[in-house]
């Protein structure tokens, strides 16, 4: 006997309503199929973080924090800084989220964000090396959902990029005896690549971008594409148990390439 989870219900009449609207080429909030909700970005308001950004994508709110610390490099990559992306869906964001370690959805989100940051590299990780083989900077990215109204992935992507673009870390010097000395100088992270995460969902035969919570819950499946630097596909993830046609995927990629410059512009102009 499975215990009931607190949750968000989509009554059948609502599902019918949303599908009906889609069949008439409309969405509940009057958006186009390839239109994003309003994006608001706040950054730099968490003093203890080296970089932070809070993004509102419609009613979805996600905060990302960047911290750099001194750590040991991976043995296989002795001259490069490390990258760890962590994401949590805390109960504050939805009655659907239970307290505890990240579930498969949070872990999937973290790994998708990570993929876009690793290849091509979002920062030059070689520049984050301090003493090869011994000490490097570890780049931590922590992503927290604060209110879930659909499409946490894209919101997380925007928050992560805004946080990286505005992050500053403490410069260290290495003494002749190999001692590591913290200076008072704060350096900006040089961001050399710009991934944008763009998510579509398939509902019936309709492909729509930036689903809100209800659209996401009734969707057959989801497709996230990562566009790097305007013309490269930096990653793809299909999730959900429905099926996509090749046309769907091509359409999604085409939409993503078209939308990339707009989202990039929103992020860069917000953090000037």
């Amino acid at each position: 006997m499975s215990e009931f989870k607190y949750g968000v219900f989509i009554p059948k009449i609502k599902q019918k309503f949303i599908l009906n609207l889609l069949n008439n080429k409309k969405r509940v909030d009057n958006r186009d199929f390839i239109e994003y909700r309003k994006i608001k970005i706040k950054y730099g308001h968490i003093p203890n973080a080296d970089g932070c950004a809070e993004v509102q994508l419609g009613n979805t709110i996600v905060i990302a924090g960047v911290k750099l610390d001194l750590t040991n490099p991976y043995p296989s990559e002795p001259d490069r800084g490390t990258l760890i992306v962590n994401a949590e869906f805390p109960p504050v964001a939805s009655p659907d989220f239970e307290p505890g370690p990240p579930d498969e959805n949070a872990i999937e989100l973290a790994r998708i964000i990570d993929r876009g940051l690793r290849k091509p590299e979002v920062v030059d990780f070689k520049k984050l090396c301090i003493v090869p083989g011994k000490k490097v900077y570890g780049l931590w990215i922590d992503i927290y959902a604060l209110n879930h109204d659909g499409n946490l992935i894209d919101a997380a992507g925007i928050a992560t990029m805004a946080a990286l673009l505005t992050a500053k870390y403490t410069k260290v010097d290495v003494s002749p005896t190999g001692e590591i000395i913290r200076t008072n100088e704060r350096l900006p992270l040089e961001v050399i690549n710009f991934p944008v995460y763009i998510t579509h969902v398939k509902i019936g035969e309709h492909l729509i971008i930036d689903p809100n919570l209800e659209e996401e819950m009734i969707a057959d499946c989801k497709l996230t594409t990562i566009i790097s630097n305007g013309n490269l596909i930096g990653g793809i993830q299909k999730s959900g148990s429905g099926a996509l046609s090749i046309e769907d995927i091509n359409q999604a990629l085409e939409n993503s390439l078209k939308i990339y410059p707009r989202i990039k512009e929103i992020i860069t102009s917000s953090v000037k």
Binding site: A49, D50, G65, V66, K67, P90, P91, V92
Partner: protein
């Protein structure tokens, strides 16, 4: 006396600037944001709602559950996301504070769940959390005998001070968070870490209660202003 100066120039009994807002999250039944200087917390309340498993629900009243958690980048050295013993203890004392303020017999066999996320920690995080939770409970429409207002007091370099920052907390000879229901004069949370004479303790309590009354006014003002902005729009105040 000596030229004692707090690092941010405040007087001994001066509070840091406070910012508070209700109803900041849409999914939670109630929510609030509370800032005391650079300490920034967000609180969300769900409930009263069913308690699962049903057979373990309290038969005569509602349960209250609290989870106080600090986000990894809220502190100077990144903290692992897993709950530490400190967070578990703070969750417990906050839960017990509100246990005395919520009228629980209205909703037997249910639970009221409180979730706190500390976004930036600069001392006095548990009292900022309590101040946020009071507003979040009101936002959720939960029956309270009174709001709970809280402040930290302490002793540093033999000086008695109010509203400790992170540095002051680290370097203090004593730090004491206090929470109370100001209209009913009831103390719901009291902890002290360090050493104090009885006289110092009494003075700190006096200072703390005075500061709490100020915070209480700010909480009430926050609640009223969320409604009054609409009244003003129609020239109705």
């Amino acid at each position: 006396m000596s030229q004692f100066k707090r690092s941010d120039g405040r007087a001994n009994d001066e509070l840091r600037p406070i910012k508070a807002e209700m109803h900041v999250l849409k999914n939670a039944d109630g929510s609030a944001y509370f800032e005391m200087g650079n300490t920034k917390v967000i609180a969300a309340v769900y409930g009263p709602r069913e308690y699962y498993p049903k057979q373990l629900a309290l038969p005569q009243e509602s349960m209250v559950r609290v989870r106080y958690h600090m986000i990894p980048f809220s502190v100077k050295e990144r903290k692992s996301p897993a709950l530490t013993r400190r967070e578990i203890e703070i969750s417990k004392v906050i839960k017990e504070a509100f246990g005395g303020c919520i009228k629980k017999d209205l909703f037997p066999r249910s639970t009221i769940d409180v979730y706190i996320e500390v976004l930036n920690a600069d001392g006095s995080t548990r009292v900022a959390s309590i101040n946020a939770v009071s507003l979040a409970l009101v936002d959720a429409g939960i029956f309270l005998y009174d709001l709970v207002a809280a402040v930290s007091v302490g002793k540093i370099h033999d000086q008695l001070i109010v509203d400790l920052t992170g540095d002051e907390d680290q370097n203090s000879e004593a730090d004491m968070p206090i929470a109370m229901m100001p209209s009913l004069n009831k103390i719901l949370l009291l902890q002290m870490d360090g050493t104090l004479t009885v006289e110092e303790f009494n003075n700190l309590m006096k200072m703390g209660i005075q500061a709490i009354k100020k915070i209480y006014e700010i909480q009430k003002e926050t609640i009223r202003s969320s409604l009054e902005s609409v009244l003003k729009m129609y020239g109705q105040t």
